[in-house]
């Protein structure tokens, strides 16, 4: 073995500090007062809206701003205000409220033993609702498990959701998939998997295919902020950048990944939108609890994609107001009142306040809509319960052997016979 002459004198070495391993920790744990001191939250109007044709090099400040439209009093202002017609605001509010009503009831159904698993998206409903309403019917979204509002905005039948969650005889996915990992191609909703992150690159491939075919449709993908640590995220950004894929890549930064705060995904060092910089992609940081801001940012990114200007990375800054899933108790690792202290509030309340301010809405109509949607959900749950809940009804066991390949091979044929079905 060779010996290398050292350029470091003993004296210098003696003056060096000892190295120490840094482990990030959140500001507040259970028992502490919630704190969002590290959150970067400019006012609406502070973050400029460049022309959609601008060069990426001219907008490297955007990942450190925050696209906002609604202020704390529910008033819309600033360059990003999309000035939406009343029916769009109403459709958004309805999709969000429906998502919330559905989440509440189905979460309870899990407690009652009717399903094995459920995940809520409480506090994050504006994201899927705005983007689903904005994008075209033949655009494709590559969801995470936390964008139910995408389907709600497109009136996906509630009964099909319930049957899937109960894994019963009428489950549209034939009992093969875990509850809530839906697939709904006709609704622009790509098949979900239990592995986080693994479809982020599919969205880029889908968009590349659309460009290859000279088509019109674009793709949109979601990934949780925790999951940006996976290679899938970085690989997708590379391909999106290299091939100028017509895709909108969204990080839903709800600040928690099960029990891990966003610092474990690098949030203490920079923003998630700023990850775009190294790939030469525009990066927008957006108030994810502001329906109008989400809409406006998506419109901006979609326009670029449709003009062959390539991909945009959008960080949707929000807060996971509920537990991670039915298997989680968030009071074990974060202050119980953290959700209430979150400065960007609740997306439903904010849109509602905005609409009331415009004279388009009032408390009575809101309560009536809530009651109507709750009744809709209740009816769907009841209908699905009549088919059966987990363990009480299931698709034919034959379905277990279907769909492994397009045409079954001898193994599944023999094994089906062995099981006597």
């Amino acid at each position: 073995m060779g010996h290398y002459p050292s350029s470091t004198s003993v004296e210098i070495m003696q003056n060096r500090p000892s190295l120490r391993l840094h482990i990030p920790e959140p500001v507040a744990r259970p028992g502490d007062a919630p704190a969002f001191d590290r959150s970067l939250i400019p006012e609406p109007g502070d973050t400029r809206r460049p022309e959609t044709t601008s060069a990426e090099a001219d907008m490297r400040d955007l990942p450190f701003g925050l696209v906002r439209v609604l202020d704390d009093s529910g008033e819309a202002s600033g360059p990003w205000n999309p000035k939406l017609p009343t029916e769009t605001l109403l459709a958004g509010l309805r999709a969000m409220l429906l998502t919330r009503a559905f989440d509440e009831r189905l979460f309870r159904a899990h407690r009652q033993g009717k399903t094995s698993f459920y995940m809520k998206s409480t506090g994050e409903e504006a994201i899927g609702a705005a983007q689903s309403l904005f994008l075209d019917r033949d655009d494709m979204c590559f969801p995470t498990y936390r964008v139910l509002s995408w389907l709600m905005a497109r009136n996906y039948p509630l009964i099909d959701l319930c049957n899937q969650i109960f894994s019963n005889e009428k489950d549209p996915l034939k009992g093969r998939q875990l509850p809530i990992l839906y697939s709904a191609r006709d609704y622009g909703f790509y098949s979900l998997s239990g592995n986080v992150g693994s479809r982020f690159g599919h969205a880029v491939g889908w968009a590349m295919a659309s460009a290859f075919k000279g088509g019109q449709s674009i793709a949109l993908a979601y990934i949780g902020e925790g999951t940006t640590a996976e290679g899938d995220f970085h690989e997708a950004l590379t391909f999106a950048s290299v091939y100028r894929a017509p895709v909108i890549l969204c990080v839903t930064n709800n600040q928690w990944a099960i029990s891990s705060f966003s610092g474990i995904a690098g949030a203490d060092e920079t923003t998630f939108a700023a990850k775009a910089l190294a790939y030469g992609l525009p990066g927008l940081r957006v108030d994810g609890n502001d329906f109008l801001a989400v809409w406006a940012a998506t419109e901006w990114a979609a326009e670029r994609a449709r003009m062959n200007l390539g991909a945009t990375l959008i960080e949707l800054y929000t807060y996971r107001a509920s537990g991670h899933s039915t298997s989680d108790d968030p009071t074990k690792y974060r202050p119980a009142d953290e959700a209430e202290a979150w400065p960007l509030g609740d997306p439903v309340e904010r849109l509602k306040t905005h609409m009331i301010g415009l004279g388009l809405w009032d408390e009575d109509r809101h309560a009536a809509l809530q009651a109507e949607l709750d009744a809709e959900v209740r009816a769907a749950v009841k209908e699905a319960e009549a088919v059966g809940t987990l363990g009480k009804s299931k698709p034919s066991v034959k379905e277990m052997f279907e769909g492994v390949f397009k045409d079954p091979d001898w193994r599944v044929v023999e094994q089906r016979r062995e099981l006597g079905i």
Binding site: R176, E230, I264, L419
Partner: protein
């Protein structure tokens, strides 16, 4: 002696190693402050400090890669992968790096890491919280694969794995964490309380890797199993009325081939049971070994009972899961030949 469930036994093993060896450290998704989604690392950060047990970014490839780097430096990292289904993003690191570092550097570098991960079905976890990937690791030369079936073994095997100088994949049967499970899913849940294998010494001890356990002695057939299936096998043997010998392999690499051969030579029949799907499963390797080494002692063809060759299906948990009835049928079949 304290009674522990498997979670407590594993926690105790980790606690012992953090206490005794300053070069050990634990990291993985949600293992730090929270103590892991299955609570296996509960309290360890508080007791041993932030740098001894901490949260990792959601990047299984990154977790295993950095563990290898730490191991090469001289530490003994004990990373956790939250579910065995999520080891796959780290597969290249395990196969091309951890498994070969010693060989390709002629012993200059090696990776004494122990990758813990809950595996297996029986919990309605669907496709990606239920799989049994042991065969794909067994196929990789340079990796050891260890699978305990009870709290006592879990602690002893985990300490032995951590102290081992080669990379170990330590698969924890999650269905056994809180109690034994024999596949009779309609029966009330059992806990480990009162089970002799739940009597776990508080201090350090090891169960050597590569040493199978004879769980039940018998004369008419040999059943080979590991993990959850050890308990299913006992129930299946009982149902079949066949006087079968049950071997718990405890580690599939290193494999206690002597124990297998001795038993099959004695009984003349062999049935292999695993949860993983059948084609290309570890049962194929076991069957070939038995056939190669015991051919003239075999009175009937080696039988395999395994998961079907489909992904793990959520609603069909109990149609897929190879329960005692399927083992009993195979035992009866093997006696007819």
């Amino acid at each position: 002696m304290p009674t522990m469930n498997m979670i407590q036994a594993l926690n105790s093993a980790l606690d012992v190693m953090l206490t005794e060896d300053p070069n050990t450290l634990i990291f993985g998704e949600d293992v730090g402050y929270f103590g892991g989604v299955f609570r296996v690392t509960d309290g360890l950060q508080k007791k041993h400090g932030l740098t001894r047990c901490f949260d990792a970014p959601i990047s299984e490839g990154g977790i295993v890669a950095t563990a290898i780097g730490m191991g090469a430096f001289g530490l003994r990292p004990i990373p956790e992968i939250q579910f065995a289904d999520y080891i796959l993003p780290a597969f290249d690191q395990l196969v091309s790096e951890a498994a070969r570092l010693r060989y390709r550097s002629n012993g200059e570098f090696w990776a004494p890491i122990t990758v813990r991960s809950p595996y297996g079905g029986g919990i309605f976890g669907g496709q990606t919280h239920s799989q049994s990937p042991e065969a794909i690791f067994a196929h990789i030369t340079g990796l050891k694969t260890v699978i305990p079936s009870n709290p006592y073994d879990a602690k002893g095997l985990l300490i032995a794995s951590i102290e081992d100088d080669d990379p170990v994949i330590f698969l924890e049967p999650k269905r056994l964490y809180n109690g034994p499970f024999d596949g009779r899913h309609e029966q009330a849940l059992k806990t480990w309380a009162g089970d002799p294998m739940a009597e776990v010494p508080a201090g350090r001890y090891t169960v050597p890797l590569g040493k199978a356990a004879i769980v039940r002695e018998g004369t008419e057939a040999t059943v080979l199993a590991y993990g959850t299936m050890v308990h299913v096998a006992l129930a299946g043997i009982e149902d079949s009325g066949v006087d079968a010998e049950l071997i718990d392999l405890r580690s599939i690499v290193p494999l206690d081939v002597d124990a297998i051969v001795a038993s099959v030579k004695k009984t003349g029949r062999c049935v292999i049971l695993h949860e993983a799907s059948r084609f290309g499963g570890f049962g194929g390797e076991l069957s070939a070994l038995v056939q190669e080494r015991c051919f003239y002692h075999l009175k009937s063809a080696v039988q395999r009972v395994a998961g079907w060759d489909t992904p793990y299906p959520h609603a069909f948990e109990w149609d897929y899961f190879p329960g005692p009835a399927r083992l009993a049928a195979a035992l009866k079949r093997t006696m007819e030949d």
